[in-house]
């Protein structure tokens, strides 16, 4: 009699474990399935902010590019010729 009771208990425990496992698997499947359904975020290409040509930044950049030739350097060739006289 006891043996049959123990057997019934074991079967009910196994049944519960099985139900819990099925629920867990279902939840996992549901979650992963939802993820797959989620729309893919569109990756918009990052466009560089256009710098206005009359902005102070652009003006500073242009001013920085202006270089005035070094006169002494430009005279070097003539100086070398004069020195050879």
């Amino acid at each position: 009699m006891e043996k049959t009771n123990q057997g019934k208990n074991l079967i009910s425990i196994l049944g519960w474990v099985l139900i819990i496992l099925i629920v867990l698997v279902a939840v996992i499947l549901l979650l992963t399935g939802k993820k797959a359904v989620q729309p893919v975020e569109k990756v918009t290409p990052k466009v560089g902010v256009e710098v206005k040509e009359d902005s102070t930044k652009a003006i500073d950049e242009e001013l920085g590019k202006i270089e005035i030739l070094d006169l002494e350097k430009e005279f070097q060739q003539i100086d070398a010729e004069i020195n050879s006289l």
Binding site: E53, L71, F75, I78, I82, L85
Partner: protein
């Protein structure tokens, strides 16, 4: 009666021409927006383009003028080179003759190179100044106080014009060949010519640097206006009917 009508017609014609010239002389954006404070963004862009074209035309005219003078100068320099050759033939060795001729040629070529470079710098500075004026005009149209920038812009215009005049004069110069007496003082005599060009170019360089500094000052004054880069020409609102 007829005379009065003719006089009136003549006066109005002369007045009209004077007014038209006055309008043409408004070569800066700030001067133009003074007369049209309720300017649309399209009109503003149009005015800017016109100013840019006027500046480019002026720059091109200066270059063409210099180029024309250079061609005339080249003929003179070639003749002077020939004279130099004849003069030094009996006075110094053939090797030194070659060097003296080469130095003389290089003196004039270097003058061309440097004056060209200065003209390029001044053209670029003028373009930058036009941008400064554009941003200043936008600030002014938005009710900002731009008096300091306007003063700095005016100074920069003057500095660019002075430097350009100096470059033009320098570009037209024809350097005379050195006076050669013999081999003893050869270095000294050729050195005098070199010093002459160097001093002349140094004086022009000073003016070009002053022009660059003046434009920089205008840019600094402009940057002191709070949030100046965010200001744009607003579309004028239509009056309610």
């Amino acid at each position: 009666m007829k005379k009065i009508v003719i006089y009136c017609a003549l006066i109005s014609l002369i007045g009209g021409i004077a007014l038209a010239q006055g309008a043409l002389q408004k070569e800066t954006l700030l001067e133009r927006i003074k007369t049209t404070p309720k300017i649309t963004p399209q009109q503003f862009s149009k005015e800017r383009e016109e100013i840019k074209k006027l500046n480019e035309k002026k720059q091109l005219e200066i270059r063409e003028n210099i180029q024309k003078k250079r061609e005339e100068r080249k003929v003179k320099i070639d003749a002077l080179k020939e004279q130099l050759r004849e003069k030094i033939k009996q006075k110094i060795s053939a090797k030194k003759q070659e060097i003296v001729e080469r130095v003389y040629e290089r003196i004039n070529a270097l003058n061309d190179l440097i004056t060209n470079h200065y003209l390029n710098v001044l053209d670029r500075l003028e373009k930058i100044l036009e941008r400064i004026e554009s941003r200043t005009a936008k600030a002014k149209l938005n009710g900002k106080d731009v008096s300091q920038v306007e003063t700095a812009i005016e100074k920069a215009h003057q500095a660019i014009n002075s430097a350009r005049e100096a470059v033009k004069t320098q570009a037209e110069k024809v350097y005379q060949p050195p006076e050669i007496t013999g081999e003893e003082k050869l270095k000294l005599e050729v050195g005098k010519l070199r010093k002459q060009l160097h001093d002349d170019l140094k004086a022009v360089e000073k003016l070009v640097k002053e022009a660059r500094d003046a434009v920089r000052q205008a840019a600094v004054a402009l940057a002191q206006i709070p949030k100046v880069d965010e200001l744009e020409v607003a579309t004028p609102t239509q009056p309610a009917q």
